[in-house]
């Protein structure tokens, strides 16, 4: 799992999600199949499931949409306790929750099992424009540097006695943002000059790509293949 090249994993997960999104929600046994596949991959990858579950909270804002649907859709209704729910709305809400959850699970497994270097090398392999790959490489490389800089600015702000209180504190934040932009931009210029002096010619040679064997592709293809089997089984048995 961890050994697969970045682009093989990326394409495998993308194919898996395309199949998932195409499946009508009314074929629920198919989705049981999808969840089993994810659980299997998660087990094989030996990633800490609990840590991943905590990061999955990123999904929450969109769940509000899904939760509202059963109450607002109208049409055919049924009751659960004191609640009157729309059948159509519940199905649509369930559709969104199920697919978004599978999507978040996929992205998290991908992120947790792939180094950023392998992902960038993967970008090169699938013929992403080189400028784009380089921008992504610089972003990943300097993310922590700029983050630390932002933390230092925050500490400095607070040690001067600053407490954030509503929109009146915005000018303070924006001057931080302005300074952050100037520092990021100037760092960009410095980095560029330093690279030129070491003979930079516009290509990142450090992204020498990993060797991809047929075995890798077969392993990668198994993942969407299982999803396809689940999809077809569902279509034959429950249509």
């Amino acid at each position: 799992m961890h050994d697969l090249p970045g682009h093989v994993k990326l394409l495998a997960f993308l194919a898996f999600m395309v199949i998932v999104v195409c499946t009508p929600i009314t074929r629920w046994p198919t989705f049981v199949g999808y969840f089993l596949i994810i659980v299997l991959v998660l087990t094989l990858s030996k990633l800490p499931a609990l840590t991943l579950a905590k990061r999955a909270t990123i999904e929450f804002p969109f769940l509000i949409f899904a939760i509202l649907m059963p109450f607002t859709a109208g049409g055919d209704e049924f009751e659960i306790g004191p609640l009157e729910l729309s059948r159509e709305g519940s199905i649509a809400g369930l559709n969104l929750i199920t697919k978004a959850t599978l999507g978040v699970a996929c992205s998290m497994i991908l992120a947790a099992s792939t180094t950023s270097h392998s992902l960038l090398a993967g970008f090169v392999r699938i013929k992403t424009p080189s400028l784009f790959v380089q921008i992504a490489a610089f972003m990943i490389r300097y993310l922590n540097v700029i983050n630390d800089q932002m933390t230092r600015m925050k500490v400095a702000r607070e040690s001067r006695g600053f407490v954030a209180t509503g929109p009146r504190s915005w000018p303070i934040f924006t001057s931080t943002l302005g300074a952050l932009f100037i520092r990021s931009y100037e760092r960009g210029e410095r980095v560029h000059l330093a690279m030129l002096s070491r003979g930079y010619s516009g290509a990142l040679s450090s992204l020498a790509t990993e060797r991809v064997s047929r075995k890798h592709w077969i392993y990668g293809a198994l993942f969407p293949l299982f999803a396809l089997i689940s999809f077809l089984l569902g279509m034959v048995l429950f249509s």
Binding site: F65, M69, K99, A100, S107, A137, F138, G166, W170
Partner: protein
């Protein structure tokens, strides 16, 4: 707000991805022309800036807070093509490494925020600045109007995608009203933050503001 998987169907997502790819391809060409081999390190650092800027939470009222989206801000500071590329990279990294926004919805998100949001915001900025005859305050007012408009315009673009291929029971008109309404409010915050930030950069390094230097190129 990033669209997750399963909210918009695959044909619509694929169409948006094709449009987004065209836009990104065009930006790559233009940004290379403008920045030469300086492009990669500079836009890379701008990406980090946008990403970090989105993490600063501005307290609004009673415990709520919002953050900057940064499309119009980046466009005014470094130009629309570099800004498009920076935001696209940010969205791609968020989808791939932070599970923010669905893999299959990446094309939709890139089109709404990095292409349509950035370019429409920048076009409005240019228009306002031209009408107000290129003074420093015109630059700030232009940034404000551009940033304000870019947010509900991106929301409109999302509503159109939902009308074409949305998987939900809300009527497209309801979605449009709700999205447009809330994003008008968000746009006000975006406008204030963008203008103040452009102002802060203008005070110390006016030479870095792309939207200011653009005039010299146009008139000379």
């Amino acid at each position: 707000m990033h669209i997750p998987d399963g909210f918009i169907n695959i044909p619509t997502a694929a169409g948006a991805a094709a449009l987004a790819l065209t836009g990104v391809g065009y930006s790559v060409k233009k940004a290379k022309g403008e920045l030469d081999e300086k492009a990669a390190p500079l836009i890379g650092l701008v990406s980090v800036f946008v990403f970090a800027g989105q993490m600063i939470n501005f307290p609004v009222a009673a415990g709520t807070s919002g953050h900057l989206l940064g499309g119009a801000l980046a466009a005014v500071l470094v130009g629309p093509y570099a800004a498009s590329l920076a935001l696209t990279v940010v969205l791609a990294i968020q989808a791939l490494l932070f599970a923010d926004g669905g893999l299959t919805a990446l094309g939709l998100n890139v089109f709404n925020m990095s292409i349509f949001g950035v370019w429409s915001g920048y076009a409005i900025f240019l228009l306002v600045r031209k009408t107000l005859r290129y003074s420093n305050s015109a630059l700030l007012i232009g940034s404000a109007v551009g940033a304000f408009a870019s947010v509900p315009l991106a929301a409109t673009s999302f509503s159109i995608q939902y009308a074409i291929g949305g998987e939900g029971t809300f009527a497209p008109s309801t979605v449009f009203t709700a999205m447009f309404g809330t994003h008008l409010l968000i746009g006000i915050g975006e406008a204030i933050i963008t203008t103040l930030t452009v102002g802060a950069v203008l005070k110390t390094r006016p030479d870095l503001v792309y939207g200011k230097n653009k005039r010299a190129k146009v008139t000379s």
